[in-house]
Amino acid sequence: MKSDVDRMLPSLEPVMLLDPDGRPTAAGKASLPAGEELLRGLAGMVAARRFNEQAYVLVRQGRLAVYPSSHGQEACQVAAAQVLADDDWLFPTYRDTAAVVARGVDPVEALGLLKGDWHSGYDPYERRVAPLTTPLATQLPHAVGVAHAARLRGESTVVMAICGDGATSEGDFHEALNFAAVFRAPVVFFIQNNQYAISVPLARQSIAPSLAHKGVGYGIPGEQVDGNDLAALLTVLSGAVERARAGQGPQLVEARTYRIQAHTNADDATRYRTDDEVTEWVAKDPLVRLETYLRAEGILDDARAAAFAEAAEEIARRTRDGLNRDVEPNPDDLFRFVYSRPTSQLVDQLAVVHDEMSRDALSREEDRR
């Protein structure tokens, strides 16, 4: 019989159900998600890939200030959203816009932060998606609090809290795991280990046997999964979500994946990693792997594949159109949302801005004459 500690330890190798060539592994032969689930996942990944590519282009066109791409991590992005129910919550990082879109948030609103109009572009309550968080791991204790509040009210909400490998070095990561464990909060901590925190490789973040092993220190079961295998991700994450929903507390899931692009468009990845390494990971592409399997099994045909591509193109078109529209930001907004009611000082300061604007307008008017 397994001890409690053994039950919390992850498997020695990441769970893989489809190998990089799209063939079911031994575990995959035993059990795979239903074909419809996999098709839904593929559709999501095709859309996410297209979205990543579109956003990358929009940066070069000056329409986005910056874009941290999840190219190569689409299986993680899609699975994180796909395993959730409508009443669940998703807590994303800045690299998880594709997951946010997969959750149903409007793609243009999802890119609000990166466009630079405002710090967050969507209503977090509408699809139950927290704002993209830029500081590392700070969203994780928020996720625990949201989960605990739901639990106090007797709701069945589960919270999916995403972070990266670098974030596991932050204090908030540890505090969040510990709080979740102590309060038995229904949270799935989902680490996308894409091997690099900007330039710093995983070996400089941690020498733990795996990041999933960090769970046991808090009394949380950990699991590691191939982050480019959508079938494995759906299985592991939905298992964690359902256990959390059933009152069995939090779980830690580490997905082994790879950031194919640089950290952002402003980064130069050739300074810290080799082309060979990138090529090796490109060969493990999550889309190709799943598509190969689905075609081999006759689950996916050309018509369906074309429909997925068309839907992805539609998202790209909406994203492009939305971001190509110039919306004049209103400086009043800078003062409107600081407090529920602006202080008298803020009212005075806004008047200063208005005064400057009207004088600018006046001098432009005079220049024209």
């Binding site: 949302f337 407090y339 008298s344």
Partner: protein, 334 residues
């Protein structure tokens, strides 16, 4: 003003805060009290005494010992329908929570264009004068006051402690509630219930006076009142303004007071450089320049780390130091 009769009780500041928490919890089931040792122990200052027994472990509970975790966890609770009141056990022990407070609690409303409100209160036993060893006596208000999005409140007496905390808990904005430790045991008449004039954002004149204005908040207010009493015996009439609320700041009451006397001394325990006292002095100088008969003086803590217990009396603004500053207000020119 409410039409219902206001009940009064004589309470210490700690008891008044406890009563405010109890009354708020009884009125609103979403009010939660959490932090280190706030459960069965009732807090190291007994401010949360009896709350777990009365409301159960779901409403008042101990957390793991991690201030960032507490602040971040409370952020999530507040995002999801609760009104958490968290305790940072001592001023200097709140620093691990600084990132959560500054980057998230203060900014969430603005970040989300008002869609996500964080009605949470951060209670901090603060400031010195209790013989506390290192890290137990910091005056950290400037850090919070410098952060847009937070309200920062510091009561100077039991009645304000009660009413300001009730208001803070009911507020849709996050409030840093600074509890002067030195005043925990000071007793006073407390008007219970809600519905009085708002106190957050409103300064009050605690003592009328015509010769000079002493501006203080939190633990410095009783010292200012004592100084005014002493000055009165020497024939000088000092007005005392109690800010109550550092943010929002009440320019109206403060400036009217200073304009009425033409002289001002700002008193605060915190280190003076780049402090709330410095800000007040600057605001008063800017706004009341033509009414001033002398430069605005500041009596603050020195620019040193908070001293050990046997030396702390050198750091705290004293009646003598206040009166010396008042004596310096160019009376010979009058």
């Amino acid at each position: 003003m409410t039409s219902t009769a206001v009940e009064h009780e004589t309470l210490s500041t700690a008891q008044a805060i406890n009563r405010a928490l109890r009354d708020a919890m009884a009125e609103d089931p979403t009010v939660l009290v959490l932090g280190e040792d706030v459960g069965p122990l009732g807090g190291v200052f007994r401010v949360t005494d009896g709350l777990t027994a009365e409301f159960g472990e779901d409403r008042c509970f101990d957390t793991p010992l991690a201030e960032a975790g507490i602040a971040g966890f409370a952020t999530g609770l507040a995002m999801n329908g609760m009104r958490p009141v968290i305790e940072m056990q001592f001023d200097a022990f709140a620093y691990p929570a600084f990132e959560q407070v500054v980057s998230h609690i203060a900014k969430m409303r603005n970040r989300t264009r008002g869609r996500v409100e964080l009605p949470l209160v951060i209670r901090i036993p603060y400031a010195g004068g209790i013989g506390g060893v290192e890290h137990h006596c910091d005056s950290s208000e400037s850090y919070f006051a410098h952060t847009p999005g937070l309200h920062v409140v510091a009561p100077s007496n039991p009645s304000d402690a009660y009413s300001l905390l009730r208001e803070a808990i009911a507020s849709p904005d996050p409030v840093v509630f600074l509890e002067p430790k030195k005043l925990y045991w000071a007793k006073g008449e407390v008007a219970l219930g809600r519905g009085r004039e708002p106190g957050i954002g409103k300064a009050v004149v605690r003592r009328p006076g015509t010769d000079a204005t002493l501006i203080a908040y939190g633990p410095a207010v009783p010292v200012a009142l004592e100084a005014a009493e002493e000055a009165a015996r020497g024939g000088r009439s000092l007005q005392v303004v109690d800010l109550r609320s550092i943010v929002p700041f009440d320019d109206g009451v403060v400036c009217a007071a200073v304009e009425s006397t033409g002289r001002a001394v700002v008193i605060a325990e915190a280190v003076g450089f780049a402090s709330v006292a410095a800000e007040i002095a600057a605001r008063v100088s800017e706004r009341c320049f033509h009414s001033l008969s002398a430069p605005v003086r500041r009596v603050t803590g020195f620019d040193i780390p908070y001293p050990p217990p046997k030396l702390e009396h050198f750091q705290l603004p004293s009646v003598d130091r206040i009166l010396d500053a008042v004596d310096d207000l160019q009376w010979e020119d009058a």
